[in-house]
Amino acid sequence: MTATLTYDLAHLIGATVLMMGFALLYQRRVSSVIRIYALQALALAAAAAWQAYIQDAPHLYLTAAIALVFKAIIVPLALSWLVRRLGMHRTIETALGIGPTLVIGVGLVALSILLVLPVTEGAAALARESLALAMSVLLLGLLMMITRRNAVTQVIGFMALENGLLLAAVSAQGMPLVVEISVAFAVLVAMILFGIFFFRIRERFDSLDVETLDPYRGDRP
């Protein structure tokens, strides 16, 4: 297998993760957001597996498996169950229109490429590309968290952000396994906490719009 193919495939998978990050931004229904998220996690698992193969690092297979099981299967299923269970609105309320969000997203990708490429001058081309992609995914996740009102979409934004982190971790050689595992578990714990949180909000306010929480804060004078 030639070096070009190695590079191209890694690039393709990384780009898929990024594409899914964009796709998350223009979804109008909660169910499709969850589905896209599952696809992103799947792409991430593929990226991890491919990195495991080319870096000849068996522990990355474990990372790939964790990503596949937890992020691509369990988390989306749990979220869909939550959405059904809560009987919430299926449409997404945006704080910023979809067009402008996408424009900002493109700007963020440009920013991370401009930033990462000069910084990592000495590193291998593959690591540089992957880092730029990972950082774009991370920023897109953050962008999703602030432009969507619904609590479920905020959680998915957070998970997407975490996917970006993991993508960076697998492409950097020598990242210890324990870091990846702990990140994965942290996400799971966060997911459970968010789930409980949803139920509580929902019980009180009949809505998952986080803005409804604001009048109840205790620290307002």
Binding site: L111, S112, L139, L142, M145, R149, L213, R220
Partner: protein, 666 residues
């Protein structure tokens, strides 16, 4: 070595009273330990100065993990060690007697040695870390001392203001040292001395040093805390804060501007002179308007710090213009005045403390006639007042005379601004000196002369022996420093030499005992001759009057004028004595308004006189500043009540902005 042991002794002294409770002996023992260690430190300094030794270094293994603590005793530190510890020893001696009279004395004794320790560490420090630790130690210990009488609302306010200003000063000095340390981050003074600063860094260092040390020293307009905090402390602490702590601040200024920075632009000298002139005139005008004895003394400190700042500024200007010999003259004058002010301001504050201990009064309008009730305190206070009013043959005269001698040489500077500016500053200094004399005539006259204005003043009794001893010793110090000016100037010249870059010859042309720093014809002053001649003449006169007068000495009541008046209210009051000067200067500067309410004829109500003044700097600078801070806080406060999404947005924007900054800088 000896100095280190003395410093440790101070630490021990602060621990002694902790478990003692009300046990008077323990508190007195703590003051005794302070007295001992201050004397040892003063002796170390004297020996170092007298031997003219080279700087002694000590590196101790504590402080920051990657850096040991550096100490250094050079001529400048030794001089300031002396300036600190002579008054400190006297204050400790005074404290043995006074300490138990002070309200809440148990809150004073543990911090008094720490305060001394902080000041000593500042002048011995040889790296920025030790310097700042000592500086903050000094600030915080004195803050706690100010706060000792914390049940008084006024005291708490003063302490709060002091804490704010002290933090401000510390915040200014920290980046000043950071800038001097440069990118290498070498905080040893040695490295700073060797380092070169760019124009921007050099400018900022001087500005920050002026703000940091100036706020501690009490230069206008950063003086606002001083007249509130100094009087609020117990008197022996006020004496040290006013007489000594301000000198430590000036030490910081001298160390940075003359030693570490070393190449300060002459314009800074001009600026310092202007600030000093403003401090001198405004300080003494404020002092003239006060009726609280200790507050009056505190404002007089602002004046004297201004006088010293004028001289330091002049030295900077001379030095930058290549007139090293004149810079040495101005610097020596400044040092002389620092030493003098430390002596007589400590004396005056301790005297005010004695008055307070005897009468429980600080208000001038309720004192009076104390010269008969307090036969030791009154002459000592009088000597201090004469010294601070710059009357020959006392020490205040010598240093102000030297400052004038250096000001007269100001027109030799090449710049026209200075040629014209220096005489203006000289005129302002002359005005301040005259007003200071008026101020202390008023202070002494109202407090000690005339008849008692209150029952407490009428029943005052002389204070205990240790307090009297401290007062007498300080008064003797004032006289001694005044009558041997050539010796003192010569000693100070060796200290100023490395800082100014040239030596000062104290007696050019005429030789001892004539002090003639320029040459014999431009001006000379022989205090020793003056004193001897004065003593002989006074003795002759006294003998002649006693001998030749046909009548015996009669003792008559004061302010009697042949028509006994039962009410002491017919005497001058502090306010009425200041009235002419208040009308001349106060109407414009303080907005002083006098109103007299006369009841119509036939109405038996008494007429009322009321006086209103405002503080222009407090109302024009501090209150708007406080309002501005409040306004800003109100705006920023809104950030506390955003929604989760907005917080995320803020974080996101910050991240993106930082990333863009990084991207652009590449």
């Amino acid at each position: 070595m000896t100095a280190g042991a003395a410093l440790l002794l101070l630490l021990v002294a602060s621990l002694v009273p902790l478990g003692a409770g009300h046990l008077a002996r323990a508190h007195q023992a703590a003051y005794g330990l302070c007295l001992g260690s201050a004397l040892v430190l003063a002796l170390v300094a004297l020996v170092h100065l007298a031997a003219g030794d080279a700087a002694r270094l000590a590196v101790l293994p504590f402080g920051l993990p990657w850096m040991a603590a550096h100490f250094r005793l050079d001529q400048l530190s030794a001089f300031f060690l002396l300036v600190i510890n002579l008054p400190a020893a006297m204050a400790a001696l005074y404290g043995i007697g006074y300490g138990l009279h002070a309200p809440e004395y148990r809150r004073v004794t543990p911090f008094f040695p720490l305060f001394l320790l902080g000041m000593n560490v500042v002048v011995l420090a040889d790296d920025a870390f030790v310097f700042l630790v000592g500086w903050e130690f000094m600030s915080l210990a004195s803050w706690l001392l100010v706060l000792s009488n914390h049940r008084d609302q006024e005291t708490r306010r003063a302490a709060h203001l002091y804490l704010i200003m002290a933090s401000f000063g510390g915040f200014c000095l920290l980046p000043a040292f950071g800038l001097m340390a440069g990118e290498g981050g070498d905080f040893r003074f040695e490295a700073m001395r060797a380092g070169e600063f760019g124009p921007v860094a050099g400018f900022l260092v001087v500005l920050l040093a002026l703000l940091g040390a100036g706020s501690k020293a009490g230069l206008v307009p950063l003086h606002a805390w001083l007249p509130q905090a100094h009087p609020a402390a117990p008197s022996h602490v006020s004496a040290l804060m006013s007489g000594v702590m301000t000198k430590v601040a000036l030490y910081g200024l001298v160390r940075i501007l003359f030693d570490l920075h070393g190449a300060v632009d002459w314009r800074w000298g001009a600026a310092l002179m202007l600030i000093g002139a403003a401090s001198a005139v405004i300080g003494v005008l404020y002092a003239l308007m006060q009726t609280d004895l200790k507050r009056l003394l505190a404002y007089s400190t602002v004046e004297n710090i201004g006088v010293i700042a004028i001289s330091l500024g002049l030295a900077l200007a001379f030095k930058d213009q290549g007139r090293q010999a004149l810079a040495a003259l101005a610097l020596v004058a400044a040092f002389y005045h620092m030493l003098n002010h430390a002596a007589f301001k400590t004396l005056l504050f301790l005297g005010a403390g004695a008055v307070q201990a005897a009468t429980h009064e600080r208000e001038l309008n309720r004192l009076g006639g104390l010269i008969k009730r307090m036969p030791v305190t009154a002459p000592a206070f009088l000597l201090g007042a004469m010294a601070i009013s710059a009357l020959p043959p006392l020490n205040g005269f010598v240093s102000e005379w030297l400052i004038f001698q250096s000001l007269f040489r100001g027109p030799e500077l090449p710049h026209w601004t200075m040629k014209f500016g220096v005489p203006v500053v000289g005129a302002l200094l002359a005005l301040a000196a005259a007003l200071a004399a008026a101020c202390f005539v008023r202070a002494f006259g109202i407090a000690f002369l005339g008849r008692a204005r209150s029952a407490a003043a009428a029943q005052a009794a002389e204070v205990v022996a240790p307090m009297r001893a401290a007062l007498v010793l300080l008064a003797v110090l004032c006289v001694v420093l005044g009558v041997i000016p050539v010796t003192v100037t010569g000693a100070l010249a060796t200290i100023a030499e490395p800082l100014a870059g040239a030596a000062l010859e104290p007696a050019v042309g005429l030789g001892w005992p004539w002090l003639s720093p320029a040459d014999g014809e431009r001006g000379s002053y022989a205090a020793t001759v003056l004193v001897l001649a004065g003593l002989v003449l006074a003795g002759l006169l006294l003998w002649a009057t006693r001998r030749l007068s046909p009548l015996p000495v009669r003792v008559a009541p004061s302010w009697d004028c042949g028509q006994p008046d039962p009410s002491p209210a017919t005497q001058y009051t502090a306010d009425s004595f200041a009235q002419p000067l208040r009308r001349v200067f106060g109407t414009r500067i303080f907005g002083a308004r006098e109103t007299v309410e006369m009841p119509p004829p036939g109405d038996p109500r008494p007429a009322r006189f009321s006086l209103r003044m405002r503080d222009p700097i407090w109302q024009g600078l501090y209150l708007p500043l406080a309002a501005g801070v409040d306004w800003l806080a109100e705006r920023i406060n809104r950030m506390q009540f955003l929604s989760i999404r907005r917080y995320l947005m803020l974080m996101f924007l910050t991240l993106v902005v930082l990333l863009v900054v990084v991207g652009v800088r590449q």
